[in-house]
Symmetry: C2
Subunit: 175 residues, 2 copies
Amino acid sequence: MDKAQAELVEPYGLEKVGAVVAGGARRQDSVAAGLKALPREASVVVVHDGVRPFVTAEMVSAVVGGAEEVGAAVTAVSAADTIKRVDGGVVVETLKRDGLFCVQTPQAFSRGVLAEALERAEAEGVVGTDEAALVERLGRPVRVVPGSRYNLKVTTPEDWALAEMVLRAEDDRRG
Amino acid sequence: MDKAQAELVEPYGLEKVGAVVAGGARRQDSVAAGLKALPREASVVVVHDGVRPFVTAEMVSAVVGGAEEVGAAVTAVSAADTIKRVDGGVVVETLKRDGLFCVQTPQAFSRGVLAEALERAEAEGVVGTDEAALVERLGRPVRVVPGSRYNLKVTTPEDWALAEMVLRAEDDRRG
C-alpha cells in the first residue's frame, strides 16, 4: 500500500485519493475493505473496475444521481448480441432478448444500502457477480443509467488492442 | 434486386454472388428466402449479419467446419460484462455468469438442419432471436467457435465511431 502511495498517488499528483487499502480474496471483500476506510461524511459510494479506463465524468454523475434517488445505480448498455449459455463448447440455452443489458462500472450506492448488502451477503455466504446483485437480493431497486460501448473492460490482449485504438482516436480528436 | 445487382455486385466485381434475393419481414423469413435461392449442390449454409463488417476468413472457416461436423455452429465471445435483465430502467435479474457468451455471426448450418429448423419454426409459429436458436429447439447441437471483440455490430452512431477506429488501426497496420 505504501508502494501504491509512492509509485502512483504521489508521482501523478492524485490529490483526491484519501487512502489506498489492500484488496480481499473476492471482489466484494475488496469493496468491503474500501467501505471501511471511507471518511464518516461519505454518503454515496462509487465502485469502479480498475480495468475500465474509459469511464467519463457523465457516467459518474449519472450513477451518483441514481444512488441518491433510489439507493443504487449501475451503468449499462443494451446487449447488442444474442446471449447464449454454453457448456462444453455447445449451446445449452438462448436467453430471451427482452431487456438484457451488459452492466459495467461505475456503480454507485448510498452508503447504508451498500453496507447492508455486503453484511447480508457475508452472513449468508453469498458471492455476488457485482455489488448491485447483492443489493438486488435485498429486494431494493437498482437503477440503470447509460454506460458506453467505449467503456471497455481491458483484460485480454484483444481488449488492449481495442483500447489502444480508442485512445489513438481520442488523441486525434484532441489534435 | 436489380438495383443491388447494378449498384453493388457489378461495380464492385463481386463474382461469388450467385443471387440477390428480397428479404422478408423477420430475420428468419429472409434466411428462408436465401435458402430457397441456393443452388442444389450447396450443402453448408452460412448466415451473416450485414451490419458486421469485420468478419474474417478464419471465422467463416471455423463455423463451416463446425456445421460439417455437428450440423450447426456459431461464432461467439465470452460475455465480459455482467448481464442483467432490466425493466422500466430498473434491474429485475442478474444472470448467473457461468458459460454466458455473446453470440455473433457468421453462423453455419448443414442445409438439411437449417431447412428443418426453419420449417418447424414456421409450422409452430416460433420466432427465433437467431437461426441457431431454431436449431436448438430441435434438440440438435450447436457448436460455439471463437468470434472476436472486433466483430462489431455497427448499428448506432457510437458503433460507427468504434468501427472507424478499428478500420483506421487496420489501415495503419497495413501501412
